[in-house]
Symmetry: C2
Subunit: 281 residues, 2 copies
């Protein structure tokens, strides 16, 4: 099934919650060893706790790379585990390079039968660095999320530079919409090409939704970074689809005590309910 | 020793050649198995062949990630091997993310005693995504190379957008120069913060050298991508320092036959001589 259709179906069935997973060894809860085995145990526990409520599991590659090859092994094991538990998996790597290198990244993550459904992609190198991901996405019913307006405080350094009457990220948004209309899901009418748009910039999000009517949004910045349910709601279309909202620290580190599983499950459920209220669902 | 001073000393002692390493399994030469073990053997052979001439070895992470955990193990083994053979090592990962994630990337690659001397960094998220690398670079005598104007055909999609009288990559160049003057090498007067500037855009390079007088350039695009020695020379300062020029396919795939080691060594030597002629050294 087309990725955008899968994403839309899953968010309707469960909720638009995407659980980010940034396993910092220094923050692992009570009873978990501070190593790759600990990350595997922690990750499986989080997946079990959230799979009934969340649509998406989003592991952040940096936190696995820091554990070298053992971390990468755990990364793939967790992607497979999350997939088995009915979650869609977005690998958060923000990859981007020249064409021949992006072919390798695309092959690494978006192949037939991969447990990974989509990858985040950095557009600074232009369409060359995005095209290999689009080709793979179309071929294997996978997706990608292009960074458009990120959630961090300095995202405006380049993304908000004024070009004529618009700013860089608005110009990029129109390019992404153009790429995206090549691969629309027949059911959802959303594209396999998504955009990352931070909850921490709600006004920008409202405008970006109009510039990218066919683009699903991956919305980071909810929770620890300060974005709210009302802010995030601006990225959806009126029927409550078209976006997933990602929270990481507020869910996976909801407790550092022995009750971390329950706390993560509870935080996910509360977030889902807050979003549904904000979306009038 | 400060990274920029090491880089300058090494290029004076040997040459400004940086050998890129993109081990595509489909292209491995005769007699090499098409797996992670083959990549290790191929990489060691290339390192042995080029270590006498080149200053830098630049493995491209994408081609290791595609081999999963076994590839990552080989990546680190090759970085260590290159370091032992007297090469500086630049990990080409083009990483970039929000601050807390970049802390993890910085910890993964730029720690005390790491065989990796520098990492390529994508600036699309602004200074938040660069600062953790700068802090590590200063603390551990490491370096980073920020993508400014990349070598690929579509690099202008975002990098050349006009903002007032300049374009995005020129504006970024001035930010990089500003960050860079915080960490100048006492001997070279170059910064630990470098910039990626493609040989395929020679006019832009000439101007970028004036905008970033303290920034060492990592110049890709030589050889297979079409950049020449004369084009690349524009990124250097008059004494023939301030840049390294990277070639990948024209060196590591100089022959697919049993003579690939000799061919890689010869291609490196020829490139070094071409660069020295173009730089009047």
């Amino acid at each position: 099934m087309n990725f955008a259709d899968s994403l839309t179906a899953r968010t309707k069935e469960k909720s638009p919650v995407c659980v980010g997973f940034d396993p910092d060894l220094a923050k692992l809860p009570e009873g978990i060893t501070k190593d790759a085995d600990g990350v595997l145990e922690f990750g499986k526990g989080i997946i079990d706790a959230v799979a009934g409520t969340a649509a998406v599991f989003k592991p952040q590659l940096a936190f696995f790379e820091v554990l070298r090859w053992e971390g990468i092994k755990v990364f793939w094991d967790l992607c497979t585990y999350a997939k088995e538990k009915g979650l869609l998996v977005i690998a958060d790597g923000k990859r981007g390079d020249i064409g021949s290198t992006c072919e390798a990244y695309a092959e690494a993550y978006l192949y037939e039968g991969s447990p990974i459904d989509a990858l985040t992609v950095n557009p600074y190198l232009g369409i060359d660095g995005v095209r290999p991901f689009i080709e793979r996405a179309v071929k294997y019913d996978k997706g990608l999320f292009v960074l458009v307006k990120t959630s961090n405080p300095s995202s405006g350094d380049l993304q908000d530079l004024p070009i004529g009457d618009e700013v860089v990220h608005e110009y990029l948004a129109q390019m992404v919409e153009g790429w995206g209309t090549q691969c629309l899901g027949p059911v959802s009418n959303f594209s396999s090409i998504g955009a990352v748009v931070g909850a921490t910039y709600p006004e920008e999000m409202t405008y970006l939704r109009t510039l990218m009517p066919h683009i699903p949004f991956l919305i980071p910045g909810y929770g620890a970074q300060g974005g709210t349910a009302a802010d995030s709601a601006r990225g959806f279309i009126p029927d409550g689809t078209g976006a997933v909202v990602s929270a990481t620290r507020s869910i996976i580190y909801a407790s550092y005590g022995a009750d971390w599983r329950e706390a993560a499950g509870k935080a996910t459920l509360e977030m889902a309910e807050e979003l549904k209220r904000a979306l009038n669902l």
